[in-house]
Structures are given as C-alpha cells and as structure tokens.
C-alpha cells in the first residue's frame, strides 16, 4: 500500500469541502471493505484518503408512509439485515443482506460504499433497483437525486464526479399487490455468486394483471443489470406460466455475461433464465397474497 494523508471527517460539509479541494488526488473512505483491498493491491493510490465513516449524520434508517424509506449512505449491511423496520417494510432487503459477503464485512461495510464500489457482482444494487431506489448525491456545488439504475456506467465505474459524495438511498413506500423476490445461484453456499436476481412485480387489483415488473440481475453484465425488455413484456398482461417462461428467455438473451473461473458466459445465461423464471413466478405468487 502506498502512503496517503488521512483526513477523518465528522460532517458532510467538511467531507464535501475536502473532496472538492483534492478531487482526483483524493478518495472517500467509508467502511473500506472493497477500498482497502484496492489500496493494498495498488490498483488505486490516492494521495489523500477522506474518511467519512465518522460522519454520524449519514447513519440512519427512517420510514414514512408517504415518502418511503430514507437510508443514510453509512448504514452498515448488518444494520439493514437486522433492522425490524426493513424486515417489516422491505423484507427482501434483509434477506438479500444475509448473503452479502460475511458477517465481519457486513459489520463494517456500508451500503453507500458498496454501491460506490460499482462491482456488478454485488447483490444490494439489483435489490435496490428492483425496489425503484433513488440516490441523493451532494457536492459543494449542488445536490441532486438520480435513479440508482443510472448510477452505474461500467465495471467498477459510476457517474460520481470526483467531488461528489453519495449521502442517501431512497425507496418509495411499498404499494399493495407487490411481490419482491431475491434468488441466487452459487456452486457452494457461501461462495461467489454465479448469478443472482432481484425481481419485483406489482399486480392490478384483479391480482392477475401485471402493472409493473422489474427483473434485475447481478454478474451478467458490466453493471447491475435491469432486463427491461423482459419486464416490459409482462406489463399490462395477465400472468401465466407461458408468459413467465417467455420473459425468462428474453431476460437471458438480454444479458451480456463474461466467462471466468467460476462459470462460462453460456452457463451464466442458462442459469439466469432458470433463476428469472423461478423468481418471476414467486414474485407473482407473493404479490397475489399481499
């Protein structure tokens, strides 16, 4: 690891001012569960490390029936997993968090840091995209809110400018007749995921017709991947097994996976199809029951 100046901060304002001062020479450190490894491997070597983990105003979970969920970027994975608020309002998030890395990593790592690392194999981003998340991003210049889906641009790359900080994740309130499902496939239980999907479906009051569907996957593209064509195929139609199979086929065709030591691209595509078929069916069943 190369040497750097360490700049601990206590407020968002202080962090913004430092990062706007150092820009490309600086890097924001939250829990560091990805960053420390990158520093050690010298894949990045910033001159200044601006530590925001001590910014306590960014560690919160609040819920309002009208506004939905507001989650500070420094909320740890473990806090999301254990939160009774999350478990009752967005249970899929808590379930997904249980399989993020290990307890040790979830204890120290933050949701904001996870998203900013931009790893397409991560599960939080697909789940949050399926739940229609937005991000609040601040800098000393401006403050903006964007859909999470537009945040990622390529492998480990996001739209964040060098002077910007992700401060909050926002979720709309859950609506009636919604089913959200997280499913993963890995060759060993705690091993690296070959593919995972977070799929949401909102039904009309007849509990048959799909009003909205989002099929989001990890590890099948350079970014967390929303299979839009497959989702759109379902919208406005009465759900049945044939339609689900067709959507799963389409979702699989939309993906752009690579081959690596864990799985070939072909295998990932096949697994994506199977997982999406099961996930859409389960989301449909769940939505009917709500």
């Amino acid at each position: 690891m190369r040497d750097f100046e360490y700049l601990p901060t206590k407020t968002i304002q202080e962090a913004c001012s430092l990062i706007s001062q150092y820009k490309d020479e600086g890097k924001v450190l939250a829990g560091g569960q990805s960053l420390i490894t990158l520093l050690r491997q010298k894949l990045i070597s910033p001159s200044y490390l601006i530590d925001i983990k001590g910014v306590s105003e960014l560690d919160y979970l609040t819920f309002d029936e009208k506004k939905g969920l507001r989650m500070g970027a420094l909320t740890t994975h473990r806090a999301i997993e254990k939160s009774s608020l999350i478990q009752s309002k967005y249970p899929v998030l808590s379930e997904m968090e249980k399989s993020v890395a290990s307890v040790q990593t979830r204890n120290w790592g933050t949701i904001g840091g996870n998203l900013c690392s931009g790893d397409p194999i991560g599960d939080p981003a697909p789940s949050l995209i399926a739940l229609n998340a937005k991000l609040k991003i601040v800098s000393s210049r401006e403050e903006k809110t964007i859909p999470l889906e537009e945040f990622f641009t390529d492998y480990f790359t996001t739209i964040l400018e060098p002077d910007e900080i992700l401060t909050e994740i926002q979720l709309p309130p859950p609506v009636a007749y919604t089913g959200v499902v997280y499913m993963k496939f890995s060759t060993i239980e705690a091993g690296i995921k070959i593919v995972s999907t977070s799929t949401s479906m909102i039904l009309a009051s007849d509990k048959q017709t799909c009003k909205d569907a989002r099929i989001v996957m990890s590890a099948v593209a350079p970014v967390p991947f929303n299979a839009k064509k497959a989702g759109e195929l379902l919208i406005g139609k009465k759900i049945n097994d044939d339609l689900i199979a067709e959507a799963a086929q389409l979702a699989s065709e939309e993906t752009n996976p690579t081959s690596d030591v864990h799985a070939s691209a072909e295998f990932r595509r096949e697994i994506a199809k199977v997982l999406v078929r099961r996930a859409v069916k389960e989301a449909f069943e769940k939505a009917k029951r709500t």
Partner: protein, 162 residues
C-alpha cells in the same frame, strides 16, 4: 511527500494505548507488529478468509481490511483477551479443546472471535444460525464439523457466556 504520522487512541484487551502510526497501517499490522498480538493471523489479506478476525466494540471484523486509524476511540478484543487474567480459558476455548475443533490451529483465533461476537449478541443460536454466522471463517485442514459442535455445546449452556 513526507506523510505525517497520526495519533491513535485505542483500548486493546482492556488496556489503553496511545500510538503514533502511519495512516496506511491496517488494524492487522497494528495488532501484530506494534502490539505483538500475533494470535491475530495474517493470511489471505483480501478480506476473504477470516483468520484475522477481531472484535471492535461488539462487532467481529476482519483486521486486514480495517485501517487502524478507523478504530480510534474504540475498543478492540483479540484472542489474547479471551481467557481471564488468571489463565482460565474462555468457555469457547475450552469447548474447542474438548471437541478437538482444530488441526493446525491457524484459523482458530479468528473462529473463536467470530463465535464470541455471535454468542454475545445471540447467546443461544441454533445450528443453522451458527453455520451462517461462521461463514466468514475458512479452515483448510480439519473441516467444519467439530467446531460447529463445540460452539453448539457452548450455545446450549443455559446461562450463556460472556
């Protein structure tokens, strides 16, 4: 560029320290090299194996992936702090011995610390919870049966452990 060292105030195994360290020092390096606590094991160095697990405040963390300066003002417990001062082993340590829950022993300190953090939070986990919470600690020789049994035996004690 000459990098300024920073002051770190931290309590380790109950003892307060004030140290001047390089910012790039990881918690693992601090514990092993500066404080001589070599029960904290250095292995994968990329946040995977869990051999370097220690407890910061009430949380198990991987010391290789936390900057030492990030634990400023906090309390760290390593395997050296598990037994009581008179040398009596912690119930988990005793159970690991009783169940022969290790072979080479390299992963044991990390496993003990993960297990301690788990039991402090949830004194009576079932086997599934034990398996899930211990996922972050790899063993490359003896396997995964005996130490689950050892933890289970401690978890089944009515009074719990501290």
């Amino acid at each position: 560029m000459e990098i300024a060292k920073k002051i770190l105030k931290v309590k380790v195994n109950g003892r307060p320290y004030e140290l001047l360290i390089k910012p790039k020092t990881t918690l693992l390096q601090l514990l092993r090299n500066d404080l001589g606590l070599t029960g904290v094991k250095q292995a994968c160095m990329d946040n995977s194996c869990g051999a370097c697990t220690v407890i910061v405040d009430q949380m198990a963390v991987k010391a290789c992936s936390v900057l030492a300066l990030q634990v400023n003002g906090r309390e760290v417990t390593t395997v050296e702090g598990l037994a009581s001062r008179d040398g009596k082993l912690h119930p988990l340590q005793q159970a690991f011995l009783d169940y022969h829950a290790f072979q080479c022993g390299f992963c044991t300190p990390g496993k003990l610390m993960s297990a301690k953090a788990m039991l402090d939070e949830n004194p009576h986990p079932n086997e599934e919870e034990i398996r899930r919470d211990m996922e972050g600690n790899l063993c490359r020789c003896t396997g995964y049966t005996q130490y689950i049994d050892a933890i289970k035996a401690v978890a089944q004690k009515k009074e719990g452990v501290k």
